[in-house]
């Protein structure tokens, strides 16, 4: 099978022609840019190379006419078959280039000439004109400077007049523009004569009565002569007030500025497409004008316009970007942009952030030593209107209105949308672009990331709402392209997925069109056997919101570091931990003892399996065992646990068979410039962008790569809470002024208070331990995340139990906050733990920590804490004997319906716990977790379902005496992921219990499915059922104590009929 000869030959022929033309252009360029070559030499050189670019070089010769001189090969004869282009300098034809064929040739587009050859000859003529212009200016400038040096005393007609004359003869328009700028310049410098001149010229426009012309009458056009006079006057005044040097500097500057005018026009005109801007930038690039040489306003204006057109609308961003991203940089960027025809799209926030950070770092010379080399992975961009183009190209416009559907319907339809998108096609120009990008990337794995525009416009953090996909990028070009388009389609589809739509709805952004840029980035890393992965990666924050030691300051920053891909550092993963480092205090690690270090070390890593072409999570130990030294930078990453201690291998002689590798990054911290580099990056970016930042980075074991940079936003529970000044004294339960992190903890109904003085007085070890055990019991009984623990010294003290309540993480894991009180004991204040005993668990589950120093700058209402009714004897009768020490307060009960709200503001280093009315539904919506779009819906729906279940249940058949609901459903605090806590009082017939369990299981699965459709939260079942018997109720064991309890009692449900 082969194609017919004809077409293939034609294509080959055409390609050969293009190559010839390009080669010719290349040669011409080389000749023209030869420094110090005379015009004569250049023209002679051109005669040689030009014919080679034409279709029949052997029969071809060129002639150049320039300023009266004629250059042509000896013995050439004019013929009829000629192609000609004029050389035009400042509007004046100064010569021409002609190409002749010696005999008749086959007909083409323009006689025997191709249309490509027309473009070729035009371009060469333009270049020669430009060269000529440059030469003229150079000569003039040289003349000025020599005469300036020779004759310092100004004569009547100074040398710079030469250029004015020159311009007057060659380019009137440029001259008048420069004249105008001179008048302005003089006026702004407060020179009266210039102001008069301006008034006089304005007066020409007035009628004799001194009244301005009517607005609706067109202004009379001023004659060119008038304008020239004005210009001359301007320069006459200038010569009186300004030094020669200054005037020359001005003129030089303005001529350069003027060269960028076409670019300014292109970017300012909203009608120009990206392609046109790219062309304008290309032309600008050819002039080789550094944008630093432009005058400041022009330079800034150009940078801002380009930023707005290409990157983002965000004002804050433009404000910073204009100092760092130069016009030239845009030229480079555009080489890697894929856009639909006539695109008006942008690159979006994520791309813009990275580009800016990269320029900032590159230009931070004073930090160059600390920063070292910082790379950015090879990146291509797909503009934001690519999505619109994709939708239009496949006639999918319907999808835009899906967002107004009910969320459960969106969720149900979403898998279909993904499939439809994946089976749609991309416009040819996009496919071509992607194909070019793939050639550039080679077969290195890629990540396709979204770069949302809405994010910048609104300041809402969409992080994690849209998809980022890893591609192994292996196989044939066609396979790779298919995988890439598939991934882009999937990212596009994620715009219409339920979670971001809910998120947008909650923020009132639903009506705005979401446009989304795409960033295609090479994955940083190396090949290790069948895997591809970075040595290490992570995220870093300017502000450390999780300080584990009083010595760490907020601006010491925080790094979350993992081996392999950074995905495990960006997100909190349930079964693993990243290594935490505060770059400003890198010596102070969270985990100190070998046990802590081993327990909280990263155990798994994410990577790309090049064989299966999948993103995978594997065990660090397995990879190390399999590949050993081939694991990049292994000595920087792991230490070895041996003999009850941690050792950092000096050389890699350890035996992976018996030594356990523990990821500590000790080597990276101690033996590489990682920490100073990280400190410098965070510092430079914070300084230059004017705020704290959040970056992602990775290393292949050799180089450091910056992957992302954006302002440090806050998780929704960690925004700084405004602290009102006029809080009534008697409503403040406690306040703190040190070591405060950000956030707010709303609607706390219960306070568990361990009285520091009473605790210190306890005489028996058993009783001290009992306090810990009672707290553990309260942790199970009190409403989840609605109570706080306040106690002396160190929670979780493992050594001396006297120094803090003896609890483990499981004894406190349902609290919303942990408060440690440091009161003077004798003559010293005990150190606080800062939650270090289970610090990483607190971080990963967002339990807030606050230290109080009531003897110094904090307050704690001891009187209230001691006098408020204590419900401990009622809720935990077994621990009645602890009631002097351990106090449990039901706040709404003792305060007439008030709840505690804790406002924490790290910027002010201030926190208060204040008693307030419970937030109404609207206020609650504001304070609650983002996903809870309508928080009241979640519990109402759950309560309704609980009531339904009870009503449907046949009590006689299942031996049910009563049924209760408790927990978040009863307390109206249920979120989208909450389960429904049911308490079933059985009559003790064990035989029917399996039936009941089965019956309830059915409900549980069904409700879980419905809840998933409503909220997107997946669970295996929604019901959490506890069975109790008469005996349990009598003994008030565990959940039975909820029935008829004094506080937070379970709510009875009406049962159905038998």
């Amino acid at each position: 099978m082969s194609l017919p000869d004809g077409p293939v030959d034609k294509i080959l022929e055409a390609l050969r022609e293009r190559a010839k033309e390009l080669n010719c252009l290349y040669n011409v360029h080389e000749i023209i840019t030869r420094p110090n070559a005379s015009l004569d030499d250049i023209c002679r050189g051109l005669l040689e190379v030009i014919p080679r670019g034409w279709q029949y070089p052997a029969e071809c010769w060129a002639r150049i006419t320039l300023e009266g001189s004629v250059y042509q090969p000896p013995g050439s004869v004019n013929t009829l078959w000629v192609q000609r282009a004029g050389i035009v300098v400042q509007g004046e034809v100064v010569g021409a280039i002609e190409v002749y064929y010696t005999r008749q040739m086959p007909r083409a587009d323009e006689g025997p000439f191709l249309k490509e050859e027309r473009r070729l000859i035009n371009t060469i003529a333009e270049w020669v004109a430009h060269l000529l212009m440059q030469r003229r200016l150079q000569t003039t400038l040289r003349n000025w400077s020599t005469s300036d040096a020779a004759a310092p005393e100004p004569t009547l007609r100074r040398e710079w007049w030469v250029i004015i004359d020159f311009l007057g003869k060659t380019d009137h328009q440029l001259l008048t523009r420069i004249g105008r700028r001179m008048i302005n310049h003089l006026c702004w410098n407060g020179i009266e004569a210039a102001q008069q001149l301006l008034e006089r010229s304005a007066a020409d426009l007035r009628d004799p009565n001194g009244v301005w012309f009517e607005d609706n009458r067109p202004l009379e056009k001023r004659s060119e002569q008038q304008l020239l006079t004005l210009t001359n006057d301007a320069f006459r005044i200038a010569s009186e007030y300004l030094s020669e040097r200054e005037i020359i500097a001005c003129i030089e500057q303005w001529i350069k500025d003027d060269k960028s005018s076409f670019l300014i026009e292109a970017v300012e005109d909203q009608g120009t497409s990206l392609t046109e801007i790219a062309e304008a930038l290309g032309r600008y690039h050819q002039f080789a004008v550094q944008d630093r040489e432009l005058s400041r306003p022009v330079q800034v204006g150009l940078r801002v316009s380009l930023t707005r057109r290409l990157l983002t609308d965000s004002l804050a961003f433009m404000n910073t970007a204009r100092h760092f991203i130069e016009v030239e940089d845009f030229h480079d960027i555009l080489h890697h942009v894929i856009a639909p025809a006539a695109s008006h799209g942008k690159l979006g926030g994520k791309s813009a952030g990275l580009l800016l950070a990269c320029q900032i770092v590159r230009k931070a010379n004073e930090y160059a030593d600390a920063l070292g080399e910082i790379k950015v992975p090879k990146t291509w961009y797909l503009t934001s209107d690519g999505l619109l183009n994709f939708v239009a190209y496949n006639h999918l416009e319907d999808v835009y209105n899906r967002k107004y559907l009910e969320v459960d319907q969106i969720r149900r339809e979403y898998p279909h949308i993904v499939q439809v998108f994946k089976h749609s096609h991309f416009a040819p120009e996009i496919l071509n672009g992607l194909s070019a990008a793939l050639d550039d990337f080679d077969d290195r794995p890629l990540i396709v990331r979204s770069s949302s525009l809405l994010e910048d416009q609104t300041g809402a953090a969409f992080s994690g709402k849209y998809k980022s996909l890893f591609l192994a990028n292996q196989g044939t070009k066609a396979e790779r392209l298919a995988a890439l388009t598939d991934a882009i389609a999937e990212v596009y589809a994620s715009v219409f997925s339920p979670d971001p739509i809910e998120y947008r709805a909650a923020r009132g952004l639903l009506d705005l069109h979401e446009e989304m840029g795409i960033m295609i980035q090479q994955v940083v890393g190396t090949r290790v056997g069948r895997y591809f992965m970075p040595a290490w990666a992570g995220v870093a924050f300017s502000n450390n919101e999780f300080r584990w030691s009083a010595r760490i300051k907020r601006d010491d920053g925080l790094v979350r570091l993992v081996p392999g891909l950074g995905t495990r550092a960006v997100d909190r993963v349930p079964d693993d931990y990243p290594v935490l480092i505060a770059p400003g205090q890198a010596g102070l690690r969270v985990n100190i003892t070998p046990d802590e270090i081993v327990n909280y070390a990263p155990k798994k890593l994410d990577l790309i399996n090049l064989e299966t072409r999948q993103f995978e999570t594997v065990s660090v130990a397995d990879v190390v065992r399999e590949y050993g030294r081939a694991f990049p930078a292994l000595p920087h990453i792991v230490s070895v646990a041996r003999d009850g201690g941690m050792l950092r291998p000096v050389a890699f002689d350890w035996n992976p068979e018996c030594d356990v590798p523990v990821v500590t990054f000790e080597g990276l911290v101690a033996n590489t410039p990682f920490i100073p580099k990280m400190k410098a990056i965070l510092r430079v970016l914070r300084e230059r962008t004017g705020g704290p930042v959040d970056i992602e980075f990775a290393s292949d074991g050799r180089d450091f790569y910056l992957l992302q940079c954006r302002p440090q936003s806050f998780a929704d529970d960690a925004t700084p809470a405004p602290i009102p000044r006029d809080l009534p004294e008697d409503r403040i339960l406690f306040s703190a002024r040190r070591y405060v992190s950000n956030g707010r903890v709303p609607d706390i109904t219960h306070v568990v208070y361990v009285d520091p003085e009473r605790y210190a007085e306890i005489g028996s070890l058993a009783e001290l331990r009992d306090v810990g055990r009672a707290v553990g019991r309260l942790n199970k009984i009190l409403p989840k995340r609605q109570f706080i623990l306040i106690g002396p010294g160190r929670w979780g003290s493992r050594g001396d139990v006297k120094l803090g309540v003896n609890v483990t993480y499981s004894d406190i894991n349902n609290t919303s906050m942990l408060i440690e009180v440091a009161t003077h004991r004798g003559n010293y204040v005990p150190d606080l733990s800062f939650g270090t005993h289970f610090f990483q668990d607190l971080v990963e589950s967002s339990i807030r920590y606050l230290p109080l120093f009531p003897d110094d700058d904090s307050t704690l209402q001891m009187a209230f804490m001691r006098s408020a009714p204590n419900i401990l004897p009622d809720v935990l009768p077994d621990y009645r004997h602890l009631q002097d020490v351990l106090r449990v307060m039901d706040l709404p009960n003792v305060t007439g319906g008030l709840v505690l709200r804790v406002l924490m503001n790290a910027d002010l280093d201030q926190a208060v716990g204040v008693l307030v009315r419970p937030a109404g539904p609207s206020a609650a919506a504001e304070t609650r977790h983002v996903d809870e779009t309508r928080p009241e819906d979640h519990w109402r729906w759950r309560l309704r379902m609980a009531e339904r279940i009870a009503a449907e249940l046949n009590p006689a058949r299942f031996g049910v005496k009563a049924m209760y609901v408790f927990g978040s459903t009863k307390n109206a605090t249920a979120g989208p992921g909450s389960d429904i806590d049911l308490l079933v009082h059985l009559d003790g017939r064990d035989r029917v219990r399996p039936d009941l369990q089965l019956w309830l299981e059915g409900w549980s699965h069904c409700l879980a499915e419905v809840n998933y459709l409503r909220t997107g939260y997946k669970s295996e079942g929604l019901l959490d059922v506890h069975f109790v018997t008469d005996a349990d109720i009598e003994q008030k064991t565990s959940y039975a104590s909820k029935i008829g309890a004094v506080t937070d009692a379970a709510r009875p449900l009406a049962l159905g009929r038998s």
Binding site: W548, S549, A550, R551, P574, D575, Q585, A586, G587, L588, R589, V590, I592, T593, P594, V598, N599, A601, K603, R642, D643, G644, G645, M646, L647, A760, E761, I762, G763, S764, L765, A766, E767, L768, R769, G793, R794, S797, R798, G799, D800, K802, L803, Y809, S810, N813, R825, G826, N827, Y828, P830, D831, S833, F834, T836
Partner: protein, 436 residues
């Protein structure tokens, strides 16, 4: 008064007072004279000193250090160095006294001591910790040493800290090598082999002796173990080698924040379980089920119909409220953890005639191995692992025999017997030296 040495209301819990009260009880049993009591109730020597440290930021911070040598009548005193932010001299005194009894009960020729520094390593860089270690040694170098007082790792101190201290000690002694100055060193740098196995194996050596005394055949017995940490794992291994069957293991599940008992009547295989154990010692429930393990509630280990219970996890696990759930078949409780049984439970266990191997005898394998490390270091000749473990067997067996013999003869509860024998040995040494 120095920072950290504070007075609290007298009725407040004080560990030193508690240790003294415990001693007084034993002294009564032994009928010790007043002078011996006075000598043993308080430490022989106490050092309290300041350690100035140049911090990483250039500032200087002064740390408070201690060394308490409770008694060295039987040999150089031995005991750990604790880094604790709320260290008090009373805690250190109590622990020093405890070390004296612990060394005496296994009859190794060492006295008891303890030391510490008030500091929280969580607030200190590695370099700062090194300076504290070196500072500590500089302050007490003339009062400690291989022939006087031998430190070891303890709360929040590690082999690394020991090496810094050793290095400073040797530097102060003209670069002469004294590896016997300190224990807890890594193998290859003065450490001893067999350290990992020591406590678990030691436990089973005493268990083996107990079985023999009770006339039970190890191969015919079953055991239930709480915990799956280092001690439990090696105890299970050796017990299986003796022919016994472990039918249940309870372990902590970090994710659920609860513990579970895994039961396999045909016998638990520690290697099999280790393959599915996470970093916190938690066992993967699904995989365990596939391997034929039945998952039960956390405290079910206590109720199993076995001959032997080995609590090797936490303190206060067998209490007044659950001691009644111990199965009637149980004959022996071997305490692998520290203080797993409360005094109320002790009473019931005694009444039911269950044989108890008390913690400070059962888990003395650790301190015995430290002694071996020091012996090896002093002679600069290091034994093979088999040799270490064989010597450990001898020591543990002898220690058990002595305590058991006393308990039988004097009709004492094993825990009391262990205490009595320890105090008696120390008192005798003081008497023999002519101190009292």
């Amino acid at each position: 008064m120095a920072k950290g040495i504070h007075t609290v209301a007298t009725k407040a819990f004080n560990s030193f007072e508690m240790a003294q009260a415990q001693f007084d009880k034993v002294a009564d049993v032994l009928g010790l004279d007043a002078a011996t009591r006075d000598l043993l109730r308080v430490p022989l020597r106490e050092y309290q000193f300041s350690i100035p440290v140049r911090m990483d930021d250039g500032s200087v911070k002064v740390f408070r250090g201690f060394r308490v040598q409770h008694n060295d009548a039987r040999g150089p005193s031995k005991g750990g160095i604790r880094f604790h932010p709320q260290e008090t001299v009373d805690t250190v005194r109590a622990l020093g006294m405890w070390m004296t009894w612990k060394c005496a009960v296994v009859d190794i020729p060492l006295g008891g001591a303890k030391g510490g520094v008030i500091c929280d390593p969580h607030n200190l860089s590695a370099h700062e910790q090194e300076q504290i270690c070196r500072g500590w040694v500089r302050q007490v170098a003339r009062d400690v040493g291989p022939l006087a007082d031998v430190p070891a790792p303890d709360v929040m101190t590690t082999p690394q800290h020991m090496l810094w201290m050793l290095d400073e000690y040797e530097a102060l002694h003209a670069g002469r090598h004294y590896p016997g100055f300190i224990t807890g060193k890594p193998v290859g740098l003065g450490g001893s082999l067999g350290r990992t196995e020591a406590t678990g194996f030691g436990l089973v050596f005493t268990l083996r002796e107990a079985l023999r005394e009770l006339g039970l055949e190890a191969g015919q017995t079953k055991a239930s173990v709480q915990g799956f940490g280092n001690v439990a794992q090696y105890a299970i291994r050796l017990y299986r080698q003796l022919g016994g069957t472990v039918v249940a293991v309870a372990s902590w599940d970090q994710e659920d924040q609860a513990s579970y008992t895994f039961r396999k009547p045909s016998g638990v295989d520690p290697d099999e379980l280790l393959g599915i154990t996470d970093r916190f010692g938690g066992i993967d429930k699904k995989k365990a089920e596939k391997l034929g393990y039945e998952q039960l509630p956390g405290d079910a280990w206590l109720e199993q119909p076995v001959d032997i219970l080995i609590p090797a996890a936490l303190e206060n696990q067998i209490r007044g409220d659950n001691v009644g759930r111990i199965h009637a078949s149980v004959r022996i409780i071997a305490e692998g953890a520290n203080g797993p049984t409360t005094p109320e439970a002790d009473k019931i266990i005694d009444e039911r005639g269950i044989f108890l191997i008390p913690d400070f005898l059962a888990n003395a394998g650790g301190v015995t191995c430290s002694y071996f490390e020091q012996v090896q270091s002093n002679s600069n000749y290091f034994w093979e692992k088999d040799e270490v473990l064989a010597k450990l067997d001898l020591k543990m067996t002898a220690a058990f025999a002595a305590v058991y013999e006393l308990a039988k003869r004097q009709k004492l509860f094993m825990r009391d017997a262990a205490y009595v024998i320890a105090v008696n040995r120390v008192a005798q040494a003081c008497r023999d030296r002519g101190w009292v």
